[in-house]
């Protein structure tokens, strides 16, 4: 990392983006297009990670990291699998009602871990499917088939069923016990779920479902920043990875004279401010060391460090400012904030490279590290291997910062525009 200071921001970002992209080449099953949730041996596929993979392939093509033919072939294998796999109500099917189980066996593509039919993870998969559909626009047999299969996958999803009789969408369903009995509460990553659900040509969500969901929003003044509160940073990234929210506003944002892009910018500043204040005196936290979100952690344990009892978590949704916070930082989330607050993200990236070089292997950022918990170097504990969600969001957000590729592709997707309009968005590029 010594040569870092000589590298331009663009060179630096290219290296990290390329390295993150590599995850999807390494963890891909060519038989069915599935991509592993994480790099640890034996990990199942995550459908959300597959959605990120499908969105990353166009980035790979545009950056010259793979050929268009290779990207199309990988995409097609994936879409064929999701079109043809079992949607029966069986406990080991691949999905149900057009949605898919959260985790699938990498080889067989069948449900594992008794996971739920996940609405948000299906949405992230679908975002990737629609990104591919928008990108592969050539009149060739393979690209025609990509678009046809993408349409078929979308049309099959029964969004109305996903409400389970309630006003808003549930979080999931299991064949053993039915719907998970709670829904979404407060601002979270589900905007894209509602947008795509509202735009469905076959089983659309009613408009009032979006109103019902946004009724749980909290507009807060924290550290003198006014924003739509959500604690974990990833919530301010996931829908925004595909949809350019700059200048478009729903009813809530019109009322607050803001938009979701600006909101993500403020959320980034609040993360930095929290880290500067560092109320629990975690090692490393400062203006360039922030990124508190959902990620891997050291595991559930209590340890006395420097005379202070510390309680660590495993994989958990950490948040700012209410917690939980165990001193674990996600450097990938910092880069995912790049389009919103590049001045903060780039400064933090350079700090990570300078202060914690040992956690960066071949330009790959780990899911998380915790300098408070002693390890082999200043980074302290470092998450083993890599997670597809972290690598995927980095690839997409760096690309949106560099070229706006994903945002532009999704602007072309008619479903995104109609879903946004049905949700009440107006202004900006929707005009």
């Amino acid at each position: 990392m010594a040569e870092l200071s000589a590298q331009s921001d663009e060179e630096l970002l290219d290296r990290f983006q390329r390295a993150a992209f590599g995850y999807f080449l390494e963890q891909y099953n060519p038989e069915n297009g599935l991509v592993a949730d994480r790099s640890r041996a034996g990990a199942p596929a995550s459908i959300a990670v597959v959605g990120f993979a499908l969105s990353c392939y166009p980035v790979g093509v545009e950056r010259g990291w793979m050929t268009r033919a290779d990207a199309a072939a990988r995409t097609l294998v994936t879409l064929r699998f999701f079109c043809n796999s079992s949607q029966s109500g069986q406990t080991d099917a691949t999905g149900y009602k057009g949605f898919y189980y959260h985790f699938l066996d990498m080889k067989t593509g069948r449900r594992v871990w008794q996971s739920e039919v996940s609405l948000i993870d299906t949405t992230l998969l679908l975002a990737g499917v629609l990104t591919a559909s928008a990108y592969f626009d050539a009149d060739t047999p393979s690209e025609n088939e990509i678009r046809e299969r993408a349409e078929a996958i979308y049309r099959r999803i029964d969004w109305q069923w996903a409400r389970g009789g309630a006003a808003t969408v549930r979080q999931g369903w299991k064949p053993e016990s039915g719907f998970i009995h709670y829904g979404w509460d407060g601002y979270d990553e589900a905007i894209i779920l509602y947008v795509l659900g509202l735009a469905s040509p076959t089983h659309p969500l009613p408009e009032h479902s979006y109103i019902g969901w946004t009724a749980t929003y909290q507009w807060e003044n924290i550290y003198d920043y006014e924003f739509l509160y959500a604690g974990p940073l990833f919530i301010h990234h996931y829908s925004q990875a595909w949809i350019d929210f700059a200048g478009i506003r729903d009813r809530f944002m019109r009322e607050k004279k803001s938009d979701y892009f600006e909101n993500s910018r403020r959320a980034t500043y609040i993360q930095r401010e929290y880290a500067r204040r560092n109320p629990f005196s975690f090692k490393g936290y400062n203006k360039d060391c922030w990124g508190i979100t959902a990620n891997d952690g050291p595991g559930f344990k209590i340890q006395k460090i420097d005379g202070r009892k510390r309680r660590f978590l495993g994989y958990a949704a950490r948040g700012v400012p209410y917690g939980p916070d165990d001193g674990t930082i996600n450097p990938c989330a910092v880069l995912a904030s790049l389009p919103f607050a590049p001045e903060l993200s780039l400064s933090a990236l350079r700090h990570f490279c300078a202060r914690y070089p040992e956690m960066i292997r071949e330009w790959k950022l780990p899911s998380s590290f915790n300098p408070t918990l002693p390890g082999d170097g200043p980074s302290g504990w470092v998450s083993e291997g890599y997670f597809g969600l972290d690598q995927g969001i980095m690839v997409l957000m760096i690309e949106n910062y560099r070229s706006r590729l994903i945002w532009n592709l999704m602007r072309q997707c008619p479903y995104v525009g109609s879903g946004l309009r049905r949700a009440g968005f107006t202004g900006g590029w929707l005009s």
Binding site: E176, E226, E255, K309
Partner: protein, 518 residues
């Protein structure tokens, strides 16, 4: 008529063991002497009472005392014990043991404030409970049967039963009234869980009779009672498992408050199972095997005791309300209008028997309104009350007024000013940094619509906000109020200061800059 289990009517604790009752010690005898004297003789009065109050809990006592002070001829009828849940099986005993539990937690964490952790921290559960009983006995003196009688209240012990629209029977006497007030309170809901009744379980009515701390305790329900006692028993050394049907504790509270509480319970060592339903209980010797389901996965835990804290239901049975023309149902209790009047215009109700908010201070406030309306043609409205409440976990969680979701449902634009306790100097010096103050104002104004405080002493802090809301004091005025430094309540002023800073618009800033340059 309040629901107590000091001796006469103990709730069943365990199908395999005798019902528990508090030890017959000097404190308990002193308490009984005050709340239900053995030699008590009901008064004899042939005339017509201005007011008959049924139930001598906080609402009933407030009403009887106030009416008597105003010169009314008042009767107060109690089936069991004066003081109601608050004194006997509610706030008083629970806060007494919570205080001890908090001290144990502080001893274990003494090093966090630079003190040495005592070498061995032994839990003397018997002394914890003895202190609790001593406090009950002490606090019972203020509203003893004798003291109430001296205040001009005719105290009757016995079952009250209406015998028409203006008559109540008690212990063989027929009492006539011009107005009556029903304040019989509420009792714990019985969880409809197969096998639970047979295995036996604790509620707030008998948990304070325990003489030994359960080694393993399952708490069903993550409401205020469940969370408070789960934390307290965990701090006494029990292995506490808490099963909550919802995705968060205290589902009515803001989710960030519930998150802070969840973290606090986990830090104490409570084994937390959210989104988890108890589906069955069976006995294995003296152990209770409890089956739970979470997201379709079934698992079992083995415990010594089960505490059910899933809510409370109004006490409406046995009073022959039909004969008095008083409408009610068993779920929401006695039906009242905004003036606390029942379907019999001469009969009023107050407190847990008719209100959604089942708190001592609400019972007292509603009793106050009922007395004014009943005796002086008052038109005071229940809906005019601004009601604060608090869950006495560590940290405490207090709330007043509207929640954000309620405001948004009513289409009221709302804005929240948040101050984290870790930014409050006194909270830092006290090592009590968990929590926050959130003050909700109507967007575009400084009018306070509601607030949530999560802090070690949130119950104390919310009172300042209660005063502000009730008196119509906005954030601008609060910012001008000098708060003592350093105090944790300064967080409220800091929120008001944050509001003031938002008034400094770019235009205003530009004007002030030009003024200063000149």
């Amino acid at each position: 008529m309040t629901n107590s289990s000091l001796q006469q009517e103990p709730a069943t604790r365990n199908g395999q063991s005798p019902p528990s009752a508090p030890p017959d010690d000097r404190f308990h005898r002193a308490l009984l002497h005050d709340v239900h004297p053995a030699a008590w003789r009901n008064p004899k009065f042939a005339g017509k009472y201005n007011l008959i109050v049924i139930g001598a809990g906080p609402g009933g006592i407030t009403a009887a005392r106030e009416a008597a002070a105003l010169g009314a001829k008042v009767a107060l009828i109690e089936r069991n014990f004066i003081g109601g849940d608050r004194l006997n099986v509610g706030c008083v005993p629970s806060k007494a043991i919570i205080r001890t539990a908090r001290l144990y937690a502080e001893m274990r964490n003494a090093d966090s404030v630079g003190a040495q952790v005592p070498g061995r921290i032994g839990i003397g559960f018997a002394t914890v409970m003895e202190r609790m009983q001593r406090i009950q006995a002490r606090l019972s003196r203020a509203d003893s049967a004798q003291r109430l009688s001296e205040a001009g209240v005719d105290v009757y012990f016995g079952e009250a039963r209406f015998a028409g629209s203006d008559t109540v029977e008690v212990a063989g006497d027929k009492l006539r009234f011009r107005k009556a007030l029903i304040a019989t309170g509420a009792r714990p809901l019985t969880p409809p869980i197969p096998g639970l009744a047979k295995a036996g379980y604790l509620t707030n009515e008998n948990v304070f009779n325990l003489t030994e701390c359960p080694r393993r305790l399952l708490v069903i329900g993550g409401g205020p009672l469940g969370c408070e006692l789960a934390q307290a028993f965990c701090r006494f050394g029990s292995h506490v498992i808490i099963a909550q049907d919802d995705p968060t504790f205290l589902p009515k509270e803001e989710r960030d408050a519930a998150q802070v509480l969840s973290d606090a319970l986990a830090r104490d060592g409570v084994e937390i199972h959210l989104n988890t339903t108890v589906v069955g209980v069976r006995l294995d010797g003296t152990r209770k095997i409890v089956d739970l389901v979470c997201a379709g996965n079934t698992f079992s835990v083995s415990v010594d005791e089960i505490l059910a804290g899933i809510g409370r239901m109004p006490i409406v049975e046995g009073m022959n309300l039909e004969s008095a023309g008083v409408r009610y149902d068993t779920k929401t209790g006695i039906h009242i209008n905004d003036f606390l009047q029942t379907s019999n215009r001469r009969i009023y109700a107050a407190g847990d028997v008719c209100l959604e908010y089942k708190f001592t201070h609400v019972a007292e406030a509603s009793a106050h309104i009922a007395v004014r309306n009943a005796l002086f043609l008052g038109r005071k409205r229940l809906s005019a009350l601004t009601i604060p409440w608090c869950t006495y976990t560590d940290p405490e969680i207090a709330h007043i007024g509207l929640y954000v979701r309620e405001a948004r449902e009513k289409d009221i634009p709302i804005r929240t000013f948040t101050v984290l306790m870790h930014d409050v100097d006194r909270a830092v010096t006290d090592g009590e940094e968990e929590g926050f103050v959130k003050i909700h104002v109507r967007d575009g104004t400084d009018r306070i619509l509601g607030a949530t405080v999560v802090a070690r002493h949130a119950g104390e802090m919310i009172n300042g906000l209660s005063l502000a809301i009730t008196s119509g004091i906005g954030l601008r005025a609060l910012a001008r109020v000098i708060h003592t430094y350093p105090t944790q309540a300064e967080a409220i002023k800091m929120a008001a200061d944050a509001y003031n800073r938002t008034r400094l618009t770019p235009t205003l800033k530009s004007l002030t800059k030009r003024w200063l340059a000149w």
